[in-house]
Each structure stands twice: as C-alpha cells, then as structure tokens.
Amino acid sequence: MATVHLDALFKRYANGVPAVNGVSLDVADGEFIVVVGPSGCGKSTLLRMIAGLETVTEGRVVIDGAEVNRREPGDRDIAMVFQNYALYPHMTVEGNMAYGLRNRRVPKAEIAERVRRAAEILELSELLQRRPSQLSGGQRQRVAMGRAIVREPKAFLFDEPLSNLDAKLRVQMRVEIKRLQRRLGTTAIYVTHDQVEAMTLADRLVVMNGGIAEQIGPPLELYDAPATTFVAGFLGAPAMNLLAAEWDGRFARLASGLALALPDLDRAPGPLTLGIRPEHLHFAADSRADATVELVEPLGADTLVHLRLGDAMVVARPTGTVGLASGDAVALDWPAAHIHLFDAEGRRILWTPSERETRSCLPVA
Amino acid sequence: MGPQVVFRSRVLPYLLVAPQLAVTLIFFFWPAAQGLRQSFLREDAFGLSTEFVGFENYATVLADPTYLEAFGRSLAMGALVAAFSMGLALLFATMADRVVRGAHVYKTLLVWPYAVAPALAGVLWFLMFNPTIGVVGYTLNRAGISWNHYLDGDQAFLLVVLAASWKEISYDFVFFLAGLQSIPRGVIEAAAIDGAGPARRFWTIVFPLLAPTSFFLLVVNIVYAFFETFAVIHATTQGGPGGATETLVYKVFNDGFIGLDFGSSAAQSAILMVIVSLLTVAQFRLLDRRAEA
C-alpha cells in the first residue's frame, strides 16, 4: 500500500512523437484511480511508465516517497494485470501465481500459503493444477488478478483488464475488481477506454486526450461539470449534445436559427459551444417547432429521440416511452441548470445564472 | 522489428550473439573474403607467385563457352526438376487433400524420400537404370530403347533430373498440401453452389489460390536444383559423360579442387552468389506478398 506521485511526466519516442505530454497526478494510499481516454491518448504509455516498462523522458515517478524512474519493473514492488492476461502458457495456475514470489526468494511455505489464500479469494482453488489453455476467459482473468494479489504489492496497475471478456462477464468482473480492491485496500491505477468501467470503478478519474490530462476528479464531478468539450463529449452515452453558437451579448444563436436567452451571462460577444446532456433535453408543451424527429429508439427504460436541429443532430433521452414518430415537429425545453458553456478553445465557461434550478433558456424566434 | 519490450543490459546481448558471430566470421566471412580476393588474382601453375588481374577471371569465365553451356544446363535442370516434382506433388496433394480414409498413411508414405541424401538418391537411380543389371535400364534395352547413361549424355542428364525430382516431390507435396488445407472450405462450397464441378473448381478456385505457394516452390526448386544436385552428380556421373551433367556448382568445385584454378573457381563462386542473391530477394518479395495475402 502506497502513494503514487507523478511529477510532470513526459514521454517522447525516438522518432520525436510525443505520447505523454506532462501529466502530474497524486494518488492517495488505497485510492482507485481510473485513467480513461480514446485509443492513442497516451493512457497506456502513462501506465507503462509507472510500471517501468517504458522509460521516462522527463519528469518523475515517485512510489511511496521514493523516485523509481531508473528502477527495473521487478524492483518497484508493483503488480500489473495485462489486457491479454500474459499468463505463462506452460505453467499451471499455481506456477503462474508463484513465479514472481519465487523470483523474489520468498520462502516456499509462505508462497504456498499466499497462493492458497489468493486462490480462495478468487475461487480458483479447484483450478490450481490447470494450465491457462484449459481455463475460460473469466478464469484466466482471475488468474491474472491472482498473480497480482499474491505479490501483496504497493500498487496494482490494470491495463484494460476486462476488454477481452464478453459483456456479461465484464460487468461481473468489474464488480469483483472493485470489491477486491476495497477489501485489500491496495492503491490501484486502472486504464480503460470504457467509460462505464471508468465511472463505476474510480474514486477519481483522469480523462486523457492527446497526451495530457484534460481533467482529474471524482467521476460525477467530471460528469456534472466537464472542464472541456472533450471531457463533456467523452463521458456519457449517448454523448452530450454540443452545438456551435454565436453569443451576441443577449442570445446564443445556433446555426439552425434558434436563439437561446442565457440569463446573467456576463461575457463579450463571440463564438461559444453550448452543451446539454440527452437526459436534460426535454420537450416543451409549446406550439413552436424547434426541431424535427428523425428517429425514435425505444430502449424500454428510456427512449432515444434523434432530432434534427437545422444542420445539427441532437439526441434527447426522455424516460419511458414517448408518442413520437419520425417527421414530427417538436418544441424543446432548455433548462439553464443543465446547460454547459465552453469557449472557442473548448474550455468551460463559468456561468451561474440566478435561480438556476427553475429557469429555462427561453428560445426566441 | 521486435516487441517494444526490451531488456536493458550493456554486455549481455553481445555475449549472446558472440558464438554465432564468431562462427559466422571465421567460417563464412573469412572464406568468402578469401574467395573474393582470389577471384581477382591469378596464380601460376606451381602456386609460387600470384598477380592481381582485376576482372580478368570474370571475363574469362563469362567468355568460356563451357561455362555458358553449364549455365544453360543448370537452368534447364532447374526447370525440369521443378516441372517434374511440382507436377506430381500437386497431383498427389490434391488427391491426398480429399481422401477421407487413410489420409495420414498416404501422407507418411509420401514424405519420407525427403530424408534420403541426394547422393544416395543418385546412386539408387543409377543402379535402377544400369543398362545391364538395373531393372529399368535392362528392360528399356530389351524393349528396343537403347539406354546407356554411361555413354549417352542426354540420358545421364535425364537421370540426374529424375533422381533429384524424386527426392523433391516430398518437399513440394508438404507445401502443396499445407496450401490446399489453408483454403477455406466455404470458398469451395460457394463455388459448388455456383454450379462449378470438381475439375472446374480446381482450375478456377483452388489453382489460383495456390499460386503464391507455387511461385515460392518454383524458386526453392530452382535453388535446390542448382545446389543439391551437386551431390547427385558428384556421386554418380562426375559431370560426365563428356560434360553433359556439368552444372555451375559442379564446375566451381571441379575447377577449384581438381583443376586447381582457384581464380576461375572463385570468380564462378562470386557469380553464383549474385544469382543466389537475386533468387533470395525474389523469394523474400514473394514471401512478403504471401504474408500480406
């Protein structure tokens, strides 16, 4: 158990391509950090630098107060679970789990005891003499976890550990990983591109894009107040509706011609991006026609309504079912409390209208 | 070229490559350099003095009609061996691919000749065609077809080709069978549904899909015929009768070891190396394409 401290980490490859562009992060003891982002955002490279599998170009990796930049992975006292599990195919489950301990010359009796305990926790006791090829995907995943926990390391590193499992198993293992981490209290850093995993597992979330950390914080905080359009668009499915608008001092004018009053916004005229999550975009009982229904997708618990708004498409997500069909014209309600504003660079604009909760941004014809 | 993971060590990698590097340097580069040097030198008959003659050895070799004949002979041998062995191997492979019962037995009984040394293969075929005591040779003569490979150059040449092909069938068979078995069943079933009969399916679907394998085998067979037939020839005809089975590789050996004309032999080696390089490059190109496909 330990703290992990990343100090302005940079990774540039030999050909000059930057993969990680100055990431700093403080991980508290026992904290579960999830690093999420699209492929190529540098999240795996970041994890591999912590593991010691990639050299650090610039910056420091500090584990438990000691800089480990130049330490071999095996000497960092951390364990890693790989996406393809990386089980040693010629060793039994027991051999896989014991290998790291044997290399560290842990006494035999203790190895046996630790493997036994880990196997019990992961319900692998019956499978100890099997080889990886004789196991199901879920069982292999457990063995990979077992190999990490027998080490009793300072931190767990997870590199997309669930992406090779089918959807049902993924949900089940996700819950198990969380429970296990809570039970052992071991610091964990978890890389994924799956935002559901990210939201559900993380104590704090790091959203990465283009080699930098766009935002770091508790999942719901990021969901409710994304710092950038990237974070806004990345978290949540379906994604937040992001609409380009022109602010003229009184109204935000969308390309479709719709103009929204943004009460109390004190800002010089200029372009901005207006965002609203599908679940916050309501239908108004008005006779106006702001948008046309293009497609209705009933999901049972709620419905996805794809709407055409001029040249743009937006999605609304009312609960239950709605009596709408393609081609219907509808009026939309824009609750001020749920509207996110971003500037031309995509950064969040602080905007706190008075009486936020009750006001709508009334469309003006 | 290699995984991203790398172990870090200053000395270890050099220790690991050291044995192979040492063997390669001493037993490959040193002789190769010697050979290259010799190809530019001329020694007098007693080996007492040598003089630098530039490309003269090469010029002599390339202007020598017997060398050019040997060149043509090697090419012809390559083409014939490839045609014989690939033709039969393809026939056997298509049959074995579709046989349900006994497939494994057939496979076993068709691959073992690969293990027979070329020199022994040559001796076997020589006995078989021996005009007086060989079953085939004797029968041919009895049937009025005059056969004596000790005297008839063309027959000796044909015999070398047959012995070499016999051994090579196994090799080609293994690759053709692997190629056939890698053709997805669905493709052939689709063709059957499209109304193509067995013969039509073979020529329109199977054969084109085997083309990469065939090209690859063609190159390998030619290289094989260039080099491995040496043992067949040396153990049987010794290049004769009248030079009718003298190939490029045989000449390198013969001019060097028997004729002691080191300059010429070395120049021939160098020319052969160029030929092998070209063939190897062609082969790698093909393999690349095969890997992409």
């Binding site: - | 049959m95 153990a235 190396m273």
Partner: protein, 282 residues
C-alpha cells in the same frame, strides 16, 4: 469434398497408391539388390523379391566395410554421421537461439549490422564457398576433426531466422509480465522462452538432423582420413572404383543403412518434421 462420388474416391486412392509405389520403387529395388550375392546381381535375372543373403551382406558391410575401395566398416561411418548430424543440429540450435534472443529482446549498438551479417550467410551455401572454406579449415588445422566437419555448416542463418520469427510471435506482454515478476533477461529466457520454444526446437532438430546427416560434399573434402568418413560420402568411394564395376549389392546395403536413420526420424516424427519444414521457409 462437396460431392461424394465413389468413382472419384477410387481414382484418388489409385493415384495415391501409384504415387507411393513410385516413390518406394528405387528404395525397394536397392533393398532387393542388397540381399543378393554377387552372382545373382550380375546374372541378369531380375527379381522383385529379396534374396537370401540379407544377414550375410549387412553384417559384412557393417563390420568389415570395403577395404578394396578404402572404405571403413559402415558401423564406423554411421557413428561418424551420427556425431556430425548431432553436432550440427545441437550446435546450430544453441548458437541460433541465443543470438535470436539477443536480436529480438535487446536493443544495442551494431544490432542491425550483426543481424545483416548473419543474414548474408543465406546467400552463399557451402557448395559455393567450398574451396576457400577448405583452405581456412586447413589453415586452422581442423581437417579430419569433428569441429572442422561441423563448424562451417553451422555458420548459417536459417535457424536464427526461425527463432527470431517465433520470438516475434510471442506476445510481448509475457516478457513484460516476467519483468514485473522480477525476472531478469536470462531467467526469462530459461523459465519462459525456452519452454515455449520446445516444439520449435524439436521441429528444427528433426530438420537439422536430416540436413546434417545428409551432408555430402563438405565431409568429402574435409576428411582425408578414412576413419572420419561419413556414410553418405563413403558411398561415393564405393561407387567410384576405378576400372571396375562397383560391387552393387554391397553399395546398396550401405545405401540402405545410410538412409535408414533420417528416414526413421521422419517417419517417427512426421508432425514435427512437417512443422519444421514449413516453418523454416517462412
């Protein structure tokens, strides 16, 4: 395949049986000859069935050889062939697996140069560099020795390429996991890579054993002392007897004995053999 016509099935079996017979014929005739005595051989009465001198002929070649042609007992030559084949296959596998390991799992100055130097050996088979190789081996005083017989044949890149190819197909995460588990490079090599390469090593061994056993021209020039003769080259001394017909029944008994070990290896390890053959051409 798709249709099931009995006639076609029959035809296939017929073609295959003919093929098997065609491939076996030369060896069968050699075997028949090896069981005949001198008189039967030259009588011109051909038999397709073995005669009664099998044990007599084989004991003679195995333990007496053919002194008139300067050929030692076949037993001696088989021992030499075995030594050579084993030395070549074991030696080649050992040095190749180590250098392939270095080339795939390390980055070091001159790595590419060394790779290309090894690669170049593919361009010049031993048949072509035989004269200068003979001079070098002779200068080193290695004629008539196992080292001189095998080292020039070990200097080839095929096995290195096979191992390199295989190592590249091993998921890189295995090496990473081993590093996380505290294993250094050599421990990874012995604990993980070597066990994983078992099948490849075995397949390569089969191919190299045959390759080594069947070497002809190099042993022919590198051994001048008949106690170092190998069986495959020794047969040439039996056939090329000046001014007289070879003693064919003895030659054939020797040929049968000389091809038996590698053929048995192929038959016994057919699967590994096919794998080795296909892999080493990739």
């Amino acid at each position: 395949m798709v249709e099931n016509r009995p006639f076609l099935a029959l035809l296939r079996h017929l073609v295959l049986i003919l093929g098997v017979a065609l491939l076996a014929l030369p060896v069968w005739l050699a075997f028949v000859a090896s069981t005949q005595d001198g008189g039967e051989m030259l009588s011109g009465q051909f038999s397709l069935l073995p005669s009664g001198h099998l044990i007599e002929n084989y004991t003679a070649v195995l333990f007496q050889g053919l002194a008139s042609a300067g050929v030692p007992p076949v037993e001696r030559m088989i021992f030499n062939s075995l030594t050579m084949a084993l030395a070549i296959s074991v030696g080649k596998i050992a040095i190749s697996i180590l250098s392939a390991f270095a080339i795939v799992y390390f980055r070091f100055p001159l790595r590419k140069t060394i790779f290309w130097m090894i690669f170049l050996t593919l361009m010049l088979p031993v048949e072509v560099r035989i004269v200068p190789t003979f001079q070098v081996v002779s200068d080193l005083g290695l004629l008539n020795s196992t080292a001189g017989l095998t080292l020039p044949l070990i200097a080839s890149a095929t096995a290195t390429f096979l191992f390199r190819q295989f190592f590249l197909s091993v998921p890189p995460e295995l090496a990473e996991a081993a590093r996380m588990d505290g294993a250094g490079p050599m421990r990874f090599f012995t604990d993980i890579l070597l066990p994983l390469s078992r099948t490849n090593i075995a397949a390569l061994f089969v191919i190299l054993f045959i390759y080594g056993w069947n070497q002809y021209i190099w042993p022919f020039v590198a051994t001048t002392d008949e106690s170092h003769y190998t069986v495959v080259m020794g047969i040439q001394r039996m056939v090329a007897v000046p001014d007289s017909e070879p003693i064919w029944n003895v030659v054939m008994a020797t040929a049968i004995l000389g091809m038996l070990p590698p053929v048995l290896v192929v038959l016994a390890m057919q699967r590994l053999f096919v794998k080795g053959l296909v892999d080493s051409e990739k």
